[in-house]
């Protein structure tokens, strides 16, 4: 279409939830591209439709709710909204992977963390149990977990929040996806841990050549991580552009208001 090199081309994406028979639109026909290896940020306040957009690319509706998607999501030329569920299942995890917001609830409490990476590798890479475990240990080391061979046999409750997010990142990158979607990956974490996770995501993106779609409400997080930014508000993309230009000269009044409200640590505060 417009740009044949694009990895992901989203055109006129709409999402509509059906709550108690009342339809409510949360995404109003947005379009954007992500090139291979590119890092793109989506920023906006809660309820602006940024997470729903991410779920649409994964074609994952929240359990028990019905959501109707419209428009097209072209991934390497295939329309993700129209392919068979089987093909989509092969896509998920292998081509497009996702990291979620809350590491405390995102790991299965009754399985060891190793087994939760193993099952992904067995499914997509067709590895045997033993080969999968070798790769799992490598992956845990890659995301910065000490003694990975030992820790692989631990259960999630034996890990801290930051370590769990590392495990979830290991799961997401285990099959070397082309696109990694990170939905508020550091919101639930402490600020020092947040810095570590951001560095990790950046390093992995570079080493594995993945495109990154980073979704966050925090302008500080988005600033150092991505090349381009989309600002979302009320289900629309109100502004987009190169990250430096957008921060230096926001055009849309909403973006300006948002940026102005961000508290800054260098601004002199009050004195006694």
């Amino acid at each position: 279409m417009d740009d044949p090199r694009a990895l992901l081309q989203v055109r006129d994406l709409t999402a509509q939830f059906n709550r108690d028979g009342v339809p409510s639109r949360v995404v109003n026909g947005i379009s954007f591209d992500i090139a291979p290896g590119e890092a793109v940020g989506f920023v906006g306040e809660s309820g602006c439709g940024k997470s729903v957009t991410a779920r649409a690319i994964m074609r994952l509706a929240p359990e028990g709710s019905s959501v109707a998607w419209g428009g097209r999501i072209l991934f390497r030329g295939r329309d993700l909204l129209r392919i068979e569920e089987r093909e989509m299942r092969d896509m998920r995890g292998r081509r497009i992977a996702m990291v979620f917001q809350d590491p405390m609830t995102s790991l299965n409490p009754v399985m060891t963390v190793g087994a939760q990476i193993d099952d992904m590798l067995c499914r997509h890479a067709g590895l045997s149990r033993r080969a999968a475990r070798r790769r799992t240990v490598e992956l845990l080391g890659l995301v910065g977990i000490r003694d990975p061979a030992l820790r692989a046999d631990d259960h999630p409750h034996q890990f801290s929040g930051g370590m769990r997010q590392r495990v979830l990142i290991a799961i997401a990158v285990s099959c070397q996806p082309d696109l990694l979607i990170a939905d508020e990956p550091t919101t639930a974490l402490d600020v020092t841990v947040q810095a570590q996770i951001l560095r990790l995501l950046m390093r992995l993106g570079r080493e594995l050549g993945m495109a990154l779609m980073l979704i966050t409400h925090d302008f500080g997080v988005i600033a150092g991580m991505v090349e381009r930014v989309y600002v979302m508000h009320g289900g629309d993309i109100v502004e987009s552009g190169e990250v430096d230009a957008l921060f230096a000269g926001p055009q849309h009044p909403y973006t300006r208001a948002l940026l102005a409200a961000v508290p800054r640590i260098e601004t002199a505060g009050r004195t006694t």
């Binding site: 996702m98 995102s106 790991l107 299965n108 009754v110 992904m120 499914r123 997509h124």
Partner: protein, 314 residues
């Protein structure tokens, strides 16, 4: 593991003690005289009554009577039946095995039915969910003794010659024995299966909305893997607990069912004992049943910890 079992058992001990006190007090708080009752219905002289009192230790303070009784209970001596003058333990044991067998079969039936309908209801939603919940409401409203009565009635009307309603001893014909218990077990299991079904449904729904299931879907795992490793394994814990707790209901229910199907289990023994005012026997039945329930709760807790690594009692 051994440590955990020990801790759980230790926690159960005070409750067991409480249970034994209740069982003891229940029978000594009779409006009538225990000695009079033990003598049966025949007219009896005052001296003879005194002798009985002494023999039974009824002239001692109540707490001493309790200790003597508890000491006996701990060594397996639950007293002598008033009716047959035989040790209660010896009379109770064979009946206990019959009741245990009936309860076990009914429990397995209820678990199978409940887990399957609950899982189907939660996963398939829509019409299945609606149908299962409707059926559950109806089943829950039909008491087991009504089911049993209706089964016997229908059988009497339409299959008067088929003998599967007559209890067959296990020793004489093992298969026939199990077959003869199937219908009684079914009438017991129906109500209990509803509880298991509703709890399974709620647990699976609860687990389905958890983030880690979303992660599993995002991993592109096959539906069966998600069902087995993510949904069922996490929904198992509450279901195990409920199933264990339903054992009490099954034991209580079997008392009724046994009388309707004339199965020589604990229920029948209880009724014979009530009819005969055979208090030591009643006491023993109550004590044994409560002990079984308590031990089963310990088993449930241990099973819980086996399934869920987060639970530990260290």
């Amino acid at each position: 593991m051994i440590r955990m079992v020990a801790v759980r058992l230790a926690l159960t001990l005070p409750i067991l003690l409480g249970v034994s006190i209740v069982a003891f007090v229940l029978m000594r708080a009779l409006p009538g005289d225990f000695a009079q009752a033990s003598a049966g219905t025949t007219a009896i002289s005052a001296e003879a009554l005194d002798t009985i009192r002494r023999n039974l230790g009824l002239d001692q303070p109540v707490w001493q009577q309790y200790l003597v009784w508890l000491d006996g209970a701990l060594t397996g001596d639950l007293g002598r039946s008033f009716a047959t003058r035989q040790p209660v333990t010896g009379e109770l044991l064979p009946r206990l095995t019959v009741t245990a067998e009936l309860t076990l079969i009914a429990g397995l039936m209820a678990l199978t039915m409940g887990a399957c309908t609950g899982l189907a209801s939660a996963r398939l939603r829509g019409t299945t969910d609606w149908a299962v919940r409707g059926l559950n409401s109806l089943l829950l409203a039909v008491p087991n003794f009504v089911v049993a009565t209706l089964i016997v009635l229908l059988a009497g009307l339409y299959f008067p010659t088929v003998g599967i309603f007559n209890y067959v001893a296990f020793a004489s014909d093992p298969l026939g024995n199990i077959a003869s218990l199937l219908l009684p077990a079914l009438s017991l299991a129906l109500t209990v299966s509803v509880t298991i079904s509703e709890n399974t449904r709620a647990a699976v729904l609860e687990v389905s909305s958890q983030d880690y299931v979303m992660v599993a879907r995002a991993k592109g795992l096959r539906a069966w893997t998600i069902l087995g490793n993510y949904l069922v394994r996490n929904a198992l814990t509450p279901v195990i607990t409920v199933t264990g707790l339903q054992l009490a209901a099954l034991l209580g229910g079997s008392i009724l069912i046994e009388t309707i199907f004339t199965i020589p289990g604990m229920g029948q023994y209880l009724f014979d004992s009530i009819a005969n005012r055979d208090y030591p026997a009643i006491q023993a039945i109550v004590l044994v049943a409560a002990t079984i329930v308590l031990l089963m709760n310990v088993v449930v807790d241990i099973a819980y910890a086996r399934v869920d690594a987060r639970v530990s009692y260290d």
